[in-house]
């Protein structure tokens, strides 16, 4: 295996990156299992067992993804993207008959979770050797690629997941060389979309609303800090959990806000509040540090690789993890609106865990392969030299061959 070879070749920067990513992932997963146990202790269902099984399954997924060549995914990314869009659409139609986010009634998999990664792959595929994203017209296609699944996910309704998609787009456009002025404009437009949607919502019936009334209520609760709204209550309890934890916390499984069921959704969306209560500032900062490490190491992989698709995928995954983790943590701390978004690796939930492992697996895959690009070292879209990527597929650089499908 590549990992073994890397080990034999001696500690290199690449090795450290890969090991660091693995360490952060496993540590976060372990912490997640511990706090799922703490927050579901008084419930009869075997949450911890299920989470552990999913973690093992996730590791399996990670290993499988690592052994495959990620560029195979590149080839199929548009197909997967199309299939998943179709699935989302079918679910949306089926939703009118009582089925919603989950693919099967047995809560097996949420396609919207998978959509995030597929979007990363698709965008990376689309953007890897392109230059036209530097013009305003060239931005249209990637924006459309993001907007369509975003609206479908929003209609499920899953505000949290759909909000994860624009940051991915922005980050990947930025790395692939889009103009900063365009990106800033797009960001502004995106922000303006929210009041626009609210205006439209006034004139359409409930079932057609883009942003549902309860989502509006959440936004209000966040902006006005109104305790009488239910989400104000959630936030209040979450903040009390953090605050009463203090510097070092009340100890694992000793949090009163947790055990006395004051914190809502404490094993899924608000699990970070439980961490903050039981491990205090030290523990919560430690978890955040692990996240930061994971994100920065993913960016490091992007920096280290010279292959544009891999670089963009690593960028996308780093942004995805950062955005999702930050949104969840900020929500529990009252810095952001409350959305039903799990904390990657930590929150209870099979889909979320598997998707996160999948994403990290992709980055590891990229990080472990030495792709040698003959040409510009940095694949700078600004220089006009012809780029011929030559990849050493087996990392040692024995045979060199041009990318077949390109």
């Amino acid at each position: 295996m590549n990992v073994l070879r890397l080990l034999i070749a001696g500690p290199s920067r690449q090795l450290w990156t890969v090991v660091g990513i693995l360490f952060c992932t496993l540590a976060l997963t372990a912490i997640g299992i511990a706090f799922v146990e703490s927050s579901t202790m008084d419930r009869t269902l075997p949450f911890t067992l299920k989470q552990s099984l999913f973690a093992m399954l996730g590791l399996l997924v990670l290993v499988i993804v690592c052994t495959l060549d990620y560029r195979q995914l590149e080839r199929w990314s548009f197909v997967i993207y199309g299939g998943l869009l179709l699935l989302l659409f079918v679910l949306l139609v089926a939703g009118r008959f009582g089925v919603s986010r989950w693919l099967l009634p047995g809560q097996s998999m949420q396609p919207s979770e998978l959509m995030k990664i597929v979007l990363v792959l698709t965008l990376a595929h689309y953007l890897r050797y392109r230059k036209d994203q530097r013009s305003l017209a060239g931005l249209l296609k990637p924006v459309l690629l993001t907007l369509v699944p975003m609206i479908l996910v929003l209609r499920q309704p899953d505000l949290g997941t759909s909000l994860m998609l624009p940051p991915i787009l922005l980050a990947m456009l930025f790395v692939s060389g889009a103009r900063r002025i365009h990106l800033v404009t797009a960001l502004m437009l995106g922000v303006l979309l929210v009041p626009g949607a609210l205006v439209i919502d006034k004139y359409v019936p409930y079932s057609e609303k883009i942003i549902k009334p309860y989502q509006v209520k959440r936004i209000k609760a966040f902006l006005l800090r109104d305790d009488t709204l239910k989400d104000g209550y959630q936030l209040d309890q979450s903040l009390i959990a953090f605050g009463s934890g203090g510097l070092t916390g009340k100890g694992w499984a000793n949090g009163t806000q947790n055990r006395l069921k004051f914190v809502p959704e404490k094993h899924t969306d608000f699990i970070f509040a439980v961490v903050g209560e039981e491990w205090g500032f030290v523990g919560a900062s430690g978890v955040l540090l692990l996240y930061l490490g994971l994100v920065l190491l993913c960016v490091q992989v992007a920096i280290q690789t010279r292959e544009p698709f891999g670089r963009l995928v690593a960028t996308g995954v780093a942004t995805l993890l950062a955005a999702q983790g930050l949104q969840n943590v900020a929500m529990t701390l009252g810095l952001s609106i409350i959305t039903g978004l799990p904390l990657p690796f930590v929150s209870y939930g099979g889909s979320s865990l598997l998707t996160s492992f999948l994403a990290v697996g992709l980055v590891l895959n990229i990080g472990m392969r030495r792709v040698i690009v003959m040409a510009s070292q940095d694949l700078n879209p600004e220089d006009n030299r012809v780029v011929v990527p030559v990849v050493d597929d087996r990392a040692a650089g024995a045979t060199m061959w041009a990318d077949g499908h390109y």
Binding site: F174, I240, F242, G243, S244, G246, G276, L296, D378
Partner: protein
């Protein structure tokens, strides 16, 4: 910009929010941690005040006058006992539009004309009387009858039924489905008869078990249901349904056991233990013990405003509340919502009440009590109230009360009466004379019944009690003409001061010599032959037709005292001496008001100004311008018996007597001699032969105050002390509105008192008796008082609170 640079910028952009989040974490977890910790404690901690046990009230031998007892009550909850009520109310509102009189189990005719207006009506039209259903159920257990409700519910409607109702229906019956016209599915509701009539069947069972009328129980439930429906909104109605309401009170142990043994037979019925204050001697000692009343709402509001009330609450700052609880519980004036209304219960409420304890329940978000807690706040135990030991001798009290009852009510000997017996001895526990041995008033209130609704109304409905006014605390609140008892003070004033007059240039005092004799005539003043008269036309059988002071006191001769009133006494001096001996001044007794705030009981009436001659003549025989309470008279006679030391009557807390200094030390001995003669010599107004107490030595004075001129109604008095030498008890008996004269009316009661002591201490109360006290210190003679109880005894009392 190369992609690597862009990636580095991206890394920076992604890292910055992490920094912000960590700062926010630090703010809430380090800077604001204390506030959040307090909030967390407040949300999960609920404060429960633990009510203390009220202290006992004891008599001087340790017999209990007031104790705590417990009993069992039955309570019910409407939502569990009377399930039908909830879904009938719901169904009635929405679906019961076309009721009909179809028999159960058959498809209802859609075109039938319905005569039932409510579901209840419909139900009982179909079932018949409940007793029939019950007997049918008893005959074949598991009656499989089902009642089908007479209306179909479309599937759309069915989905709109509130889930509570749906679950309730499913739990007590079943929901059937049938195909309607076309594709529509209709739902029908089926109930088993046992479930529909569960409330009635339960009440029938209870009625049989407890021998309570079924209708009465049914009425209570109906009342509760009416109360539920009076709720303003569904939230309030929901809570009223869950409220526990009393059904039957005071159940015996075996019935409680039966109910607890088969809880499934009595759904929604719960047994609750209840503690209450019991007064074993009831109305006999009510005037001493007083009773507890539930605090009126107005008072409660007032106390709440002043912070003198403790209640279950969720205080804003739990830790602060916990810290200040020690002070709060001392300030608290009420425990269990009850407060002493009269007597010792009121005046020693502070000591009896005890101090509240505190328990903090940890509650989770669903308001369920949870064992998990940080244990930082330990419970504070309640401090039980201290027992209060009075100086009362309840045996004496009881025998006097029973005698009064037979005299006043059964024999019609008087309307109302009061008797007070005082211990003059100094070898008792406190070493202070004045402790009260018996304090009786007839009629009394039954303190065990005052909490019954309508008890006080029932007092006014009884024609006798309505007149006699049992709420009136006669011994220290009544103001009655003393009659001849006042002559004791007239004699003293005449002996001590007399009248000063000028002889030439010298002021001379015309004092009474006890040996000085005045003639006794039937009519004192020939010009007013009907006004000033004596009881005897022959100078009470004394030789020469004249009497000295001793004889006058013995016979209670009016004429003699008319002479004194005319020639030897003036109002000012008389009032001076009377008030020195306690008449016309408030008697401070430790009853009726908290000791710290003792003010005055009725002061009586004592004219101190100038009177006309005619007024003066009525004054000296204790009529007109003088009114006294029995307690004042008792002080007076005790002062005479103790040779000028006028004791304060007390039940718990001793007070040093007042000392009256006389000009002539022997004057009181003369009066005592007169009183002794009245009791011991034949012809005396209180001659002992009448009491069958030959070998008894005492001094007494009777009094008869005429109330009306025509109808023969008197206030009869007797005061006395015993033994004649070194007296150890003093007593006063006052009977209001009796047809008999003083001596006759009060004789049976005096007999009871004296015999009570004579039986217990024959030597001391005989002629040769030299005793100076009635009882040893209470501690030595008591049977059941633990010495370490820390109770309030006369010697050890300290005011607290």
């Amino acid at each position: 910009m190369t992609p690597r640079t862009r990636l580095r910028i991206l890394a920076l952009v992604l890292a910055i929010p992490f920094g912000v989040v960590v700062l926010r974490l630090a703010q809430s977890q380090i800077l604001d941690a204390d506030e959040y910790r307090a909030q967390s404690l407040r949300r999960r901690g609920q404060v429960h005040q633990v009510a203390p046990t009220r202290g006992r009230i004891l008599d001087r031998h340790g017999r209990a006058l007031a104790v705590r007892k417990s009993t069992h009550d039955l309570v019910f909850r409407v939502d569990e006992l009377h399930r039908r009520e909830f879904y009938f109310a719901q169904l009635q509102m929405t679906y019961a539009r076309d009721l009909c009189n179809a028999p159960p189990g058959e498809p209802h005719p859609t075109d039938g004309v319905c005569t039932c207006r409510t579901l209840e009506e419909w139900l009982f039209r179909n079932t018949g009387p409940v007793t029939d259903v019950e007997s049918r159920l008893r005959r074949n257990r598991g009656l499989d009858e089902e009642w089908t409700f007479p209306f179909d519910i479309s599937s759309a409607d069915y989905r709109r039924i509130p889930s509570g109702l749906r679950n309730s229906v499913k739990a007590n019956g079943r929901v059937g489905e049938h195909q309607g016209n076309g594709d529509d599915v209709y739902h029908t509701l089926h109930f088993r008869v046992e479930h529909l009539l569960a409330m009635e069947l339960t009440l029938l069972r209870l009625a049989r078990l407890t021998e309570t009328p079924y209708e009465q129980l049914r009425q209570r439930v109906s009342k509760a249901v009416a109360d539920v429906h009076a709720g303003k909104n569904s939230y309030e109605r929901h809570h009223r349904r869950r409220q526990e309401r009393p059904l039957i009170r005071d159940l015996s142990q075996d019935i409680v056991t039966k109910i607890l043994y088969f809880p499934e037979k009595y759904p929604g019925i719960y047994v609750r233990a209840r503690h209450y204050r019991d007064y074993p001697f009831g109305e006999v000692a009510e005037i001493v013990t007083g009773y507890l009343i539930r605090l009126p709402d107005v008072e409660e509001e007032k106390l709440k405003r002043e912070g003198l009330l403790l209640q279950a609450s969720r205080p804003e700052d739990l830790a602060e509340y916990y810290d200040s609880f020690a002070e709060r519980r001392i300030r608290c004036r009420v425990s269990n919502g009850e407060i002493g209304a009269h007597g010792i219960e009121a005046s020693y409420d502070n000591a009896l009440r005890g101090l509240y304890g505190l328990r903090i329940d940890v509650r989770d978000a669903m308001n369920q009590v949870n064992r998990l807690g940080d244990g930082a706040l330990e419970p504070i135990p309640a401090v039980p109230g201290r027992p209060v030991r009075t100086t009362l001798d309840v045996g004496l009290q009881e025998s006097i009360y029973n005698e009064l009852e037979s005299q006043c009510r059964s024999l019609g000997n008087g309307l109302a009466a009061s008797v007070v017996v005082m211990d003059l001895g100094e070898r008792n526990a406190s070493g202070v004379p004045g402790s009260i041995l018996a304090l009786c008033a007839y009629p009394g209130i039954d303190p065990n019944r005052v909490r019954e609704p309508g008890y006080f109304r029932s007092l006014t409905e009884d024609p006798y009690l309505d007149k006699a006014r049992p709420q009136f605390k006669r011994p220290y609140q009544a103001v009655i003409s003393p009659g001849s008892i006042f002559k004791l003070m007239v004699a003293l004033a005449a002996l001590e001061d007399g009248i000063e007059y000028l002889e030439g240039d010298r002021v001379r005092s015309h004092r009474l010599d006890p040996r000085e004799e005045f003639p006794c005539r039937k009519v004192f003043d020939e010009r007013n032959p009907h006004s000033f008269r004596c009881t005897s036309s022959s100078a009470h059988g004394e030789v020469d037709g004249t009497l000295d002071l001793r004889q006058a006191l013995k016979h209670s001769c009016n004429t003699y005292f008319y002479y004194l009133g005319r020639d030897r006494v003036r109002t000012r001096e008389l009032a001076h001496w009377a008030s020195l001996f306690g008449l016309g001044r408030p008697v401070k007794i430790d009853l009726d008001l908290p000791v710290s705030r003792q003010t005055r009981t009725t002061a009586g009436l004592l004219n101190r100004g100038d009177l006309t001659r005619r007024e003066m003549l009525t004054y000296v025989i204790g009529h007109g311008h003088v009114g006294v309470s029995p307690m004042q008279v008792l002080r007076m006679v005790a002062g005479i018996a103790l040779d000028g030391r006028v004791p304060w009557p007390f039940l718990v807390e001793p007070r040093e007597p007042e000392i009256v200094t006389l000009r002539e030390p022997g004057n009181l001995a003369v009066i005592r001699d007169g009183m002794r003669r009245a009791f011991e010599e034949p012809g005396g107004t209180a001659y002992k032969e009448e009491y069958g107490l030959d070998a008894f030595s005492a001094g007494a004075k009777t009094g008869t105050a005429q109330i009306t001129r025509v109808g023969l109604e008197y206030n009869a008095w007797v005061v006395g002390y015993a033994p004649a030498e070194n007296p150890s008890i003093a007593w006063v008996v006052s009977i209001e509105k009796t047809p008999h004269l003083g001596g006759t009316a009060t004789a049976p009661i005096t007999e009871k008192i004296l015999k009570y002591f004579a039986e217990r201490q024959p030597k001391r109360f005989g002629r040769s008796g030299r005793g100076s006290t009635v009882f040893e210190s209470p501690g030595s003679g008591s049977e059941d008082v633990e010495s370490g109880e820390g109770g309030i005894t006369p010697a050890r009392f300290r005011e607290d609170g």
